[in-house]
């Protein structure tokens, strides 16, 4: 599957905007990503190993947090995983 890396995290992924990984679940795919680029881990996960609150992970067009099996959801080779930091603010 393809994992798309957002602009702010590319400096910690050798400048890549995407990485092809072989994995059976969302969680395993993220593990592959951080195994390939260990510096990404602290940007994606808290010290307790939970996904940081402002980091959204989408399996194709679905928010992984709202999938019945969350990050244990099975993935196929044609799926895409998008990492999208949140964007918000106001005066």
């Amino acid at each position: 599957m393809t994992i798309y890396i957002p602009t702010p995290l590319r400096p910690y992924a050798a400048g890549k905007d995407a990485l092809e990984v072989q994995a059976g679940t969302v969680s395993a795919a993220l593990d592959e990503l951080t195994r390939a680029f260990p510096d990404l881990r602290k940007h994606l996960f808290t010290e307790e190993g939970k996904l940081r609150a402002f980091v959204n992970v989408y399996l194709n067009d679905e928010d992984v947090r709202y999938l019945p099996e969350k990050d244990a959801t099975a993935v196929s080779a044609t799926d895409t995983l998008s990492i999208v930091p949140s964007i918000a603010g106001g005066r």
């Binding site: 602009t7 702010p8 989408y58 964007i87 603010g89």
Partner: protein, 164 residues
């Protein structure tokens, strides 16, 4: 420094006037250069904060996924975001800072006074982690139409950009 085509600059300011008295928001697509981001397109986004749209904005992550897909299709990257401050200065707020997570990207804010776009400022989210992030003022350099290449047209509705 943030370099932006005149077409994009006009479009994001017009967007702020269009949504007044609510905040507008959107993404800026471009290329990373040695001098900073070169923004070639703006993509309007919906503001999901309908509960407090006059002083808050939020772009749905699902919409961001689609915007990133569009950026890849065009060979561009998300280089920043824009939003408006209705009847408020074009300066980042504590809320803007707390909610800013795109390190290395530009946050462009347009003040819209009584429905008219006034000042537009850009702030680079500098730093390498959430813990040491900071906003730095950055100049905006406009690239006039004569210097824009044909493919550098904005994704925003051209009719809207003419209102500015």
């Amino acid at each position: 420094m943030l370099r932006v085509t005149r077409t994009v600059y006009d479009a994001i300011r017009a967007h702020g006037e269009e949504t007044y008295p609510h905040e507008c928001c959107g993404a800026l697509l471009g290329r990373a250069t040695r001098e900073g981001w070169l923004i070639e397109a703006a993509v309007k986004a919906g503001n999901t904060r309908t509960d407090s749209a006059h002083n808050r904005y939020h772009i749905a992550p699902a919409e961001l996924v689609k915007i990133e897909r569009e950026a890849r299709r065009r060979g561009l990257s998300i280089g920043g975001f824009y939003h408006s401050h209705p009847d408020h200065p074009a300066q980042w707020s504590p809320t803007d800072f707390a909610e800013a997570h795109w390190l290395g990207c530009s946050y462009v804010i347009t003040a819209v006074a009584q429905g008219k776009a006034t000042v537009t400022n850009s702030f680079l989210l500098a730093g390498v982690t959430e813990e040491d992030k900071r906003f730095e003022n950055e100049n905006i350099e406009l690239i006039e139409p004569a210097d824009e290449s044909p493919e550098n047209e904005s994704l925003a509705d051209p009719a809207e950009s003419k209102k500015a």
